[in-house]
Symmetry: C2
Subunit: 226 residues, 2 copies
């Protein structure tokens, strides 16, 4: 099926989504690490002039950007091991929750993590937990979001077991409380045990360094604004 390259950073949860999908489909690819996001590579600037962001998939030299768009492309190009359900309504639900996971859950958790202690942080934690509560309902009665096997939505939610716990640590808070979210908690535990999933996750120490640096930066911006 031609040459596949992935321009990505190991610490980005959006990049790891794509790696998981490629591995689940059994697609061989070359991983090209984007070393420094403050000083972007000519390759990234050439192929993603619009957003200048990773992940970027190159297939036969043609670029595809935005993680959810890439996942749909992978699904349509390599048909084996379908990630999306077959039924149009189930597909619509997977797409809806995938969007929600990025817009509300990732963004919400990050908001809660980087705010300094105070009223704003408390509100951000409440808001992030409201989003997780919607997600909790989606997993009821299933082992994975995809059913008995992992699928599209599991991949998109897959940052929760690893990245969220790092955000919790650096942000000095707990979002995914086991008593509040027993189903998500169990799902996270099951998901992260899968060898193919574990293979792609970055070392915890590296993520801690990355998020600690990001939080310091965000807080310095907030202080300068005041």
């Amino acid at each position: 099926m031609g040459e596949v390259k992935l321009i990505a950073t190991t610490q980005s949860l959006f990049c790891t989504r794509v790696e998981w999908a490629l591995k689940l489909k059994g697609v061989e690819y070359e991983f090209i690490e984007e070393e420094d996001l403050r000083n972007k590579s000519p390759l990234l600037l050439k192929y993603n002039p619009v957003h200048k962001k990773v992940p970027l998939l190159l297939h036969h030299g043609k670029p595809i950007a935005e993680s959810l768009v890439i996942l749909e492309y992978i699904e349509e190009t390599w048909k084996e091991n379908p990630l999306l359900p077959q039924d149009p309504y189930e597909r619509a639900l997977a797409r809806f929750w995938a969007q929600f996971l990025g817009d509300k859950c990732v963004f919400g958790a990050w908001e809660a993590a980087h705010k300094a202690e105070g009223e704003e942080k408390t509100k951000a934690i409440e808001s992030a937990q409201e989003s997780l509560a919607f997600l909790e309902k989606q997993i009821a009665g299933k082992k994975y979001f995809g059913g008995e096997e992992i699928g599209f939505l599991d991949i998109v939610a897959g940052w929760i077991p690893h990245w969220l716990s790092v955000m919790e640590e650096v942000g000095g808070m707990k979002l995914l409380e086991a008593e509040k979210f027993p189903l998500l908690h169990e799902w996270a535990h099951n998901f992260i045990q899968i060898p193919l999933i574990r293979e792609c996750i970055p070392p915890r120490e590296k993520l801690l360094d990355y998020f600690n640096a990001s939080i310091s930066y965000m807080r310095s911006l907030a202080t300068n604004k005041q």
Copy 2:
């Protein structure tokens, strides 16, 4: 194919996307006007408890939210008159630019419109025009984004001829300058001439009232913040 209902407001460009898709597919539907977005109907709150937003499609009583998710659902459920290209790479491009149109172009135009005169407005206008410039390149050599016939991306960009000109008027600015964006300008002219497209657009006076009220509200918020 069962009962189809669309909960929507006539002034929302996100709702009109869905109406266009249904009409292009020849799908009969009942339009249920959501009268007052500040006082949402029990129907909307019941079926879209997550975002509480229009448009909401009900098919056989099952709800689908988010305009791009609804468009994909319509495409997969009613196969006649395909909106997306067949080639996976072309489909990925359509999805990428559809996302861009919402995140950057709609949002960018609205930012530029509601800011009061000053440095921030000038910057917002520049930024919105940078986004339009990316879009201008996508239409080069084609009558429509979809080629000879309108497709997915035309529907998603379809707010430009009508809604953007209203935003320009209420915002006291010009974004889609004919000299800067000759191809988009011509596309907009061609698109809005199509009878089926014209049928669904709200009266200009109604949109003007709506956007004038929205701008007054945004500016009062900005003034209270200072």
